[in-house]
């Protein structure tokens, strides 16, 4: 156990934890100090992650180990998959913090909000850098604890009802995960579970036990990843403020679940073993069902944020689908979607937040003609929507192209049908919104109204929105150049993939 350079993943987590504690300690009134602290924490974290990224490129390894129980360690490490998720979450934390500062101006309980916001990011970093499932579980549950106060932040009965539902789902999922882990621990003994193919030696004779473990873990991760029968908490959690929704959908909770599924298939079981037990087919079918079902329900939603939420239910399952399909190309598609969906969806949520804050608009039908009133936000929203649909050459297209091509090499052409159906449905629920924004006339009474934002707030809301929109545009347009998410994912899969 060393706390020095080797323990950099720990320090990166601690940056957010310390930020959270200081924010709690500062109290409600010290707004400027809090803002400064928030930004400093987010920047420092991003800086540390960049340093770690460079070091890993240069061949360095990081590991922090603290024995918690006999044979069970708290293990933090950094592999390429860690860095993919960590970089995404650190970057989006910074952006979302800026956005949230503008969004929550004048509203009560900001210290509480930003404190738990930081804790939430600390937990996400822990999930990203967990070196075994035991550590993963610790941070996964911490994430539940840290996000609950954010979900109920508004303090309304509706928010508490959503919070209760959220807890019921996530804590029950946590229990399944815990039982699965205990089972796996008794099967595989002491050791770090996240090692390639570490379960292969014990597979003979334990097939059904391993199937049981996989299903329990899949359900445990599936709750947060909003897999089909376990998804209903997500749309209800939309009562939270927009930055929370953005963070929940793009970086923290949903992504942690999807990330867990990736780890489960790739690192805990290894694709070969999971496929030979018939488990990847199960996951692929569940993911496919979720993709279609989420999109169909999104069609019916009139509330903008709820429509986006069902869209998330659908889109996040691309990640699981790609990993479960298994060929190199499909895995690339799935993993790159971890980033692409994050950037695109956060753009959409920021835009939805901007509409709500500027004009109090929450429903899809109220968006008529807003393009002329809020051109920048509307352009960003349009980019996000097109990206989600997968219009070439935007980010979603990169995902779908790799998924489709990968499905063919893996001999699972039915995936193409799912992709086509999903794309059509995506278009069916996003394009009418875009059409309303740009081609419908602004209603009379809207023409009289002015937006409620001041100059500073407008800047604080618009800047991050534009930033993430440009980033998501770049993730698609510039996918071929070194440094793009696709570039990282290809290297990642090339080195560690199946």
């Amino acid at each position: 156990m060393s706390f020095g350079w080797q323990a950099l993943p720990l320090h990166i987590i601690l940056v957010s934890v310390v930020t959270a504690i200081l924010i709690f300690a500062l109290g409600e009134q010290r707004q400027h100090t809090r803002t400064l602290l928030n930004l400093a924490g987010a920047l420092l974290k991003l800086l540390l992650i960049l340093i770690m990224l460079l070091a890993i490129q240069a061949g360095a390894t990081f590991e922090f180990r603290l024995p918690l129980l006999p044979g069970l360690d708290l293990l933090l490490h950094a592999d390429r998959l860690t860095m993919l998720f960590a970089t995404l979450s650190a970057l989006l934390w910074l952006v979302t913090t800026v956005y949230a500062i503008g969004y929550l101006e004048q509203s009560p309980n900001r210290a509480r909000f930003f404190g738990f916001f930081s804790l939430c990011v600390a937990a996400t970093m822990g999930v990203a850098s967990a070196g075994n499932l035991f550590t993963f579980f610790i941070f996964y549950e911490l994430l539940t604890l840290a996000t609950w106060p954010l979900v109920v932040h508004r303090g309304t009965p509706e928010a508490f009802a959503a919070g209760r539902l959220y807890l019921a789902y996530t804590l029950a999922g946590g229990v399944l995960l815990l039982i699965g882990l205990v089972w796996l621990h008794t099967l595989a003994g002491a050791g770090d579970f996240i090692i390639d193919g570490s379960l292969a030696p014990i597979a003979a004779g334990n097939e059904n036990a391993l199937r049981g473990v996989f299903v329990l873990l899949m359900l445990g991760f599936g709750v947060k990843a909003a897999l089909l029968p376990l998804h209903s908490w997500l749309p209800r959690a939309m009562v939270a403020p927009a930055p929370v929704s953005a963070l929940l959908h793009a970086v923290a909770v949903v992504k942690a679940g999807a990330f867990g599924l990736v780890r489960l298939v790739q690192d805990v079981f290894g694709f070969e073993l999971a496929a030979s037990l018939g488990l990847t087919d199960l996951l692929a079918w569940m993911a496919a069902a979720t993709i279609i079902y989420g999109s169909v329900l999104a069609l019916k939603q009139n509330d903008l944020k709820r429509r986006l939420a069902y869209s998330t239910v659908s889109q996040v399952s691309y990640i699981a689908l790609g990993v479960a399909t298994g060929s190199v190309l499909a895995t690339v598609g799935g993993l790159v979607h971890l980033v692409n969906q994050g950037l695109t969806k956060i753009t959409l949520f920021f835009c939805a937040g901007n509409y709500a804050e500027a004009y109090g608009i929450h429903k899809v039908e109220e968006l008529d003609g807003l393009g002329e009133r809020m051109p920048v936000t509307s352009v960003c929203f349009t980019l996000g929507a097109l990206g989600m649909i997968g219009v070439p050459p935007l980010a979603g297209f990169i995902t779908k192209w790799h998924l489709g091509a990968g499905a063919i090499t893996a001999g699972a052409p039915w995936v193409i049908a799912v992709l086509v159906a999903s794309t059509l449905l995506n278009a069916a629920y996003f394009l009418p919104i875009v059409q309303r924004i740009w081609f419908r006339p602004l209603p009379e009474e809207m023409a009289q109204r002015h937006d409620r934002l001041g100059r500073i707030r407008r800047a604080a809301l618009i800047t991050p929105t534009v930033f993430v929109a440009v980033a998501s545009l770049g993730a698609g347009l510039l996918a071929g150049i070194p440094g793009s998410p696709l570039f990282w994912v290809v290297r990642l899969v090339g080195v560690e993939g199946p």
């Binding site: 129980l69 006999p70 911490l142 309304t156 815990l178």
Partner: protein, 506 residues
């Protein structure tokens, strides 16, 4: 399994012996000083009675760590005639809990019961006597001495509850008194029968005589002793006295009652069934029965905690529930997973003690600050008493068994043990119990974040201020419960060395 000690282990160096005697007698002498009028003797008694305990325990811990469990013969008189003390890792753990939780709760009580004043004059002698009695109980090896200690613990705890002065507190302490006296009688009757049958009162020698004794008598004796202990330990369905008593006591008293006093009875149940009675087929039935009661406690206590409208009552019912975990491990005593179950059980003992004491101290601060502990009055607590809420929430994480906390590690060990020993019904009870705990803890937390009118302006100065040190006491205990989630490895190694059944005389 439990191989009781046939031959005495080595006696430790005199320095350790003196440390052990001091652990019992320093608080006792402190109590004598605190009876005297005036501020100075009271303060001296408290400080001298409590402050040296951790230092003394370091010496004891090191000795037990290096040389294993040991006997201490008071006055040099050997076993059947003399009074023997016995110290092993479990006893050391309990002594540490008394020293730390008792010490921090005493620091909290210092402000509500200033030494040398009217209430302080009544409070501190009782408090120090209680600490002394608990320490003596954890070290005694003799069933009759244990009876005396158990009586002392009860008879000092009850007036401490009554010191709250409210009508509910008086009534609750009266009920506690009557049931505790009944429990003592049952216990004493059982001990008399056992003495008659085996000819010894030594907790660790009783097993030698059990074989020759008439089985009916032994069974009756063990049943009577256990019944007495179950009543004192408030194990479901004999818990009826606990919630009101623990909820109406003054804050620091509630903390010590829930974290330590009820555990004395559980501790003796452990000693009786895991040390004195060798695991036979008959004993297995009894252990399963105890676990069934534990399961009942966990579920019934959890549901009732969920229905309470007052914070301190929720916490008190949570104690009823959490005691259940301690009995759940018993049926695994003969399985190969027993060392894990034992570690889980004792770690639960420790984590629950720290977390529950933190919760009661935080609740006392909240009650003091708001003038009410109704859940509906806790609105906007995050602005009115953020630190007390923080302590409450952190302790709650441990009670729920969520990471990172001692409660989580205990739950993991318990789950692992049930899984390895194939006791599926225990697994189901554990899971249900922890989900119930999550439900009642989050119910409290939700109540504290609620705002009836979101547009309402900042509250006026409706909150009475609490001494910072009292807030710090609750926070410190909560942090310890959190730290227990990281420092388990050496502690468990120490606990494991004392697993009943795995160590025997050298």
């Amino acid at each position: 399994m439990a191989t009781p000690l046939q031959t005495p282990l080595q006696t430790h160096s005199t320095m350790t012996s003196e440390a052990l005697v001091a652990v019992i007698f320093l608080p006792l002498l402190g109590a004598c000083a605190a009876v005297m009028p005036g501020r100075f003797p009271a303060r001296l008694g408290i400080v001298a009675g409590l402050l040296p305990l951790p230092g003394l325990l370091v010496a004891v811990t090191l000795a037990v760590w290096h040389d294993g469990p040991a006997w201490l013969e008071l006055g040099g008189w050997a076993a059947p005639l003399g009074i023997r003390l016995f110290v092993d890792p479990l006893a050391v753990l309990m002594l540490w809990m008394v020293a730390i939780i008792g010490g921090i709760a005493a620091a909290h009580a210092w402000f509500d019961f200033p030494p040398g004043t009217g209430t302080g004059q009544k409070f501190w002698p009782l408090w120090l006597l209680l600490i002394s009695a608990m320490n003596a109980l954890f070290l005694s090896a003799d069933l009759f001495n244990l009876y005396v200690c158990l009586e002392l613990v009860t008879l000092t705890a009850i007036p401490l509850i009554a010191l709250a002065g409210s009508k509910t507190a008086i009534r609750a302490s009266m009920r506690y008194l009557l049931l505790a006296l009944l429990a003592s009688l049952l216990y004493l009757l059982g001990v008399a029968l056992l003495y008659n049958a085996t000819g010894t009162l030594d907790l660790y020698l009783v097993s030698d005589g059990l074989g020759a004794a008439p089985p009916m008598v032994v069974t009756t004796a063990l049943a009577l002793i256990s019944l007495g202990l179950l009543l004192k330990g408030a194990v479901f369905p004999l818990h009826i006295w606990l919630p009101q008593a623990h909820a109406s006591a003054p804050g620091p008293v509630s903390a010590v009652l829930s974290a330590l006093v009820v555990k004395t009875a559980i501790y003796l149940l452990y000693r009786l069934w895991l040390w004195s009675v060798p695991a036979t087929v008959a004993a297995e039935g009894a252990l399963t029965l105890l676990a069934v009661l534990g399961a009942g406690a966990l579920l019934y206590g959890g549901v009732l905690a969920l229905l309470q409208e007052r914070l301190k009552l929720v916490i008190a019912y949570s104690t009823v529930a959490q005691l259940g975990y301690l009995l759940l491990i018993l049926p695994m005593a003969s399985s190969s997973a027993w060392p894990i179950a034992w570690q889980g059980g004792t770690y639960q003992l420790l984590s629950h003690g720290l977390a529950k004491a933190a919760m009661f101290l935080a609740a006392a601060n909240i009650l003091h600050g708001l003038g009410s502990d109704r859940l509906s009055d806790l609105q906007r607590l995050d602005q009115r008493q953020p630190l007390s809420l923080f302590a409450l929430a952190m302790a709650g994480v441990s009670i729920m068994g969520l990471p990172p906390s001692g409660g989580f590690l205990a739950k993991w060990l318990l789950l692992e043990a049930t899984w390895r020993s194939g006791q599926w019904w225990l697994l189901a009870v554990l899971v249900a119990g922890s989900l119930l705990a999550a439900a009642y803890v989050f119910r409290i937390l939700a109540a504290t974040l609620r705002r009836d009118d979101p547009t309402e302006a900042r509250p006026a100065a409706e909150t009475r201020s609490i001494p910072a040190a009292q807030t710090a006491c609750a926070l410190l205990l909560a942090l310890l419960a959190l730290a227990a989630g990281f420092a388990a490895a050496p502690l468990l190694e120490f606990i494991e060395a004392g697993t009943p059944g795995t160590w025997s005389s050298p």
